[in-house]
């Protein structure tokens, strides 16, 4: 069976939904950040698939920018996690629900 575009898109959809389930189910903020990375990766896979299908290289450029955003988001996100942990000694998002401390 030859591999078609739909197969790649289906894999992308499954990985994305696993990421969504991770964000919804887990309460550890680090796991939630990892799930976000999974979702971004699934989106990247879809972008590269469409790029391959249309023959335009624009999708690769978007993936490049998504990686940039992911790195920036993760750096700031982990900085916030560090500061909250320093104060609260927890990585559980249910215990981080107060903005002031």
């Amino acid at each position: 069976m030859p591999v078609s575009m739909s197969h790649y898109l289906a894999v992308s959809a499954v990985i994305f939904v696993i990421g969504v389930a991770g964000v919804l189910l887990r309460r550890n903020v680090l796991i939630i950040l990892m799930s976000i990375e999974l979702m971004l990766n699934a989106a990247n896979l879809a972008f590269v698939t469409f790029s391959r299908a249309t023959g335009a290289v624009g999708g690769h450029i978007v993936v490049l920018f998504v990686m940039t955003i992911a790195a920036a988001e993760l750096a700031v996100g982990l900085a916030i996690v560090l500061v909250v942990f320093r104060d609260r000694e927890t990585t559980n998002v249910d215990k981080m629900n107060v903005m002031k401390w």
Partner: protein, 168 residues
Amino acid sequence: MTALLFILGSLVAVGSAALVVSRKNPVHSVVFLIVCLLSVALLFLLLGAQFIAVLQVIVYAGAIVVLFLFVLMLLSVKKEVITLHSSVLQRVGAVVLAVLLLAEALFVVIMGMGWAVGNAWPAAESINFGTVQAVGRELFTHYLFQFEVASVLLLAAIVGAIAITRKR
């Protein structure tokens, strides 16, 4: 051969992604995240995106995962009780919503293009599709402004991360 590699890569990617969100120990999750990212890189290679595949290994599996591990070791999560679950209602709701989303996405994919359509990839694969040269030329001509904006964004992220974590 391509089909075999695709099946291998997609199964490993989906399986390790499931393990990322289901392991109790965050360190194990990070390791499975590496596996997942590498198998997605394999899928990128199969799609002819060589440059993006290399970038995936260097930036994601290299830099980002190392950042995760670094913070994880810094936090010493061992001390706290790792709670996996929230309330039952929230868990059931989350599973239902995730299953609905999956059904919806697969419905769109299958109804939208079908399993058979797209077997012959529309674009004839040119010899340098997805190479550093092709992507770089596009990046520095059509997307030059966006590229510069991205660099400003990275600078802002660096300054932000330092400003947030600085002891006062």
